[in-house]
């Protein structure tokens, strides 16, 4: 067994933002030298406000975006060293928006079955059986398999996305805000499902969220991201009971404020931290 399921070393991604035809483009360091390690079976929560680079990081891990710098290691092997096909058997994504993550022109069965077809696993019959089994596992009623995504609710769609991610039996899931597009009542169901699956299948999670509250009950460790950098990481207890960094404290207090609508308090000025650290 590999020492780390997922290892990021000094990973960066820069974007050049165009400012019209005659001005110099500005450099945006969406992800700026991030190193992270996740042990097999561990759940790491990656938390930070919107726009801090979480999805960019996830895309690089998934091979959807080339890093400007640094490496992604999956089960101790560099992402680029083997094909997408073999990487995708080890690592699968769950995306944020279950309305755009399922092809509207395919039936649920076709969607869940696609990974098996692309990987040429089994014959038609065994594939159909696998689809039924995995649908059972994620709590998706069998009668929905012949339907199109447009006929399903948000929660059901996210179950379909989870089934599709799991059918190749990967060991790692990268969940990029898997519940933030869902109704609050449905969020809890999906989070529970993800936790049950983790126990049952021994999965490793990178669980991305902009909300510390969402990850509190799920994760073993937390990494806090701000403007492309990890500003603090530690075990769940360390972060939730003894946060050191002012940004983490601000995130926590926004979670703990009685009025969630108040959002982040305006104490955020990274220049003071940079001097301090």
């Amino acid at each position: 067994m590999s020492e780390y399921a997922l290892e990021l070393s000094n990973l960066s991604r820069h974007f050049y933002l165009k400012n019209g035809a005659f001005k110099e483009p500005t450099l945006l360091k969406a992800v700026d030298g991030i190193s992270l390690r996740i042990r097999p079976g561990e759940t790491l929560g990656l938390v930070g406000e919107s726009g801090c680079g979480k999805s960019t990081l996830a895309k690089m891990i998934l091979g959807l975006l080339e890093p400007t710098n640094g490496d992604v290691l999956i089960n101790d092997k560099a992402r680029g060293s083997s094909s997408r096909l073999s990487m995708s058997r080890q690592l699968q994504p769950i995306f944020q928006d279950p309305y755009s993550s399922l092809n509207p022109r395919k039936t649920i069965e076709q969607i869940i079955r696609l990974p098996l077809q692309l990987h040429k696993i089994g014959d038609a019959k065994s594939q159909q059986k696998a689809v039924k089994d995995i649908s059972d596992l994620v709590g998706l009623p069998e009668r929905l398999l012949k339907n199109y995504p447009g006929q399903l609710s948000g929660g059901q769609r996210q179950r379909v996305a989870i089934a599709r991610a799991l059918i190749l039996k990967p060991s790692i899931l990268v969940c990029d805000e898997p519940t933030s597009a869902l109704d609050v009542s449905v969020q809890a169901q999906i989070l529970n499902l993800l936790m049950d699956l983790k126990k049952e299948l021994g999965l490793t999670y990178l669980f991305i969220s902009h909300n510390l509250g969402v990850v509190e009950h799920l994760v073993d460790r937390v990494a806090v991201m701000y403007r492309g950098k990890i500003v603090e990481q530690g075990t769940r207890e360390q972060i939730f009971q003894n946060a050191q960094h002012p940004y983490t404290q601000a995130l926590l207090s926004s979670v703990l404020t009685p009025e969630p609508a108040l959002g982040l308090p305006e104490v955020l000025d990274s220049s003071t931290w940079d001097k301090a650290s």
């Binding site: 993550s101 692309l118 929660g155 449905v186 529970n192 009950h217 703990l256 969630p260």
Partner: protein, 305 residues
């Protein structure tokens, strides 16, 4: 938000009771509810059936000349007869028979030209929209160049150069009318290329061809079919124009444009020689446009669900 996790409940997935109306039923209802689409489809369907059955329906051979039967007026004229319901032309050929066979030519040209241009335009547009960057820059340049060319003029010049025939007209129009396909395919592809279902297929290791053909194309097809109807009508009119000017389908083929052209010498005294093919052309183009508009309405997002 924060207490959504502290009150985690193990509620079963009871949210499974959305009314499940079969897709085809919904489509059927909307189809029947759209008057223009219904009418257009009926007329177009009728013309297609008439064209297919032309050999059995036509009372005479459309090419058979009979000098003693020249310029017989249609049946509703006092001098008309049931022998030639729509009369005869200047060479004594039965007008109804020629009209029926002419429908075949119009439809063949419309469909083939639209298919060729659809293939060219969709390929260019999808590639430009999906890959972006330099590919997009080059293809956009090609599209702009094509848009800068006046279609009728180029078609006239080209057919004057290579000579008119049915195949020539099809190829020529196919090579000229792809711009709208390209523009529509490009913009719809741009909207979809970052969709998460595409990303998911990429992560799974699907080839680019698979992603473009099996994941993306079905989602832009409805928009392309609308363009297809427009370009069909466009091609049919252009063929009539070319044939009218003597640069398209050549005599003695019974193209509607050619029929109008051959009748133009008589148009002040024997109006029907150009009225009959003219009205046929108008009805066909109108029907196709009604179908196109209707399909567009049916695919419009506000009509969804």
């Amino acid at each position: 938000m924060s207490d959504s996790t502290s009150t985690v409940s193990t509620a079963p997935s009871a949210n499974t009771f959305l009314p499940v109306v079969p897709e085809w039923r919904r489509m059927m209802n909307r189809f029947l509810g759209h008057r223009g689409l219904l009418m257009g489809s009926i007329i177009l369907g009728l013309i297609v059936v008439l064209a297919i059955l032309a050999p059995w329906l036509a009372p005479h051979d459309p090419y058979l000349q009979n000098i003693s039967q020249r310029m017989i007026p249609p049946v509703w004229h006092e001098k008309g007869s049931w022998e030639h319901i729509f009369g005869t032309d200047k060479l004594g050929r039965d007008y109804l028979s020629r009209l029926l066979y002419g429908a075949r030519i119009s439809l063949t040209i419309g469909l083939s030209a639209a298919l060729i241009s659809g293939l060219i335009g969709t390929t260019l547009g999808v590639l430009a929209g999906y890959f972006g960057g330099r590919v997009d820059a080059v293809i956009s340049y090609i599209i702009t160049t094509r848009l800068a060319m006046p279609v009728v003029l180029v078609a006239l010049a080209m057919s004057a150069l290579v000579g008119g025939s049915l195949q020539m007209v099809i190829i020529l129009l196919g090579l000229l009318l792809w711009d709208r396909f390209a523009v529509v395919a490009r913009s719809t592809t741009q909207q979809l290329r970052d969709a998460e279902f595409i990303a998911s297929a990429k992560v799974l290791g699907a080839s680019t061809t698979y992603i473009l053909v099996r994941e993306l194309l079905p989602n832009i097809l409805s928009a392309l079919i609308v363009v297809m109807t427009l370009e069909m009508a466009h091609a049919i009119l252009l063929e009539a124009t070319l044939s009218f000017l003597g640069l398209g389908v050549q005599p003695p083929m019974p193209s509607w444009g050619l029929m109008i052209s051959e009748g133009k010498a008589y148009m002040f005294f024997k109006t029907w020689v150009i009225a009959i093919p003219g009205i046929a052309l108008m009805v066909l183009v109108l029907a196709i446009n009604l179908v196109g508009d209707g399909l567009r309405d049916m695919n419009a997002p506000e009509g969804r669900n």
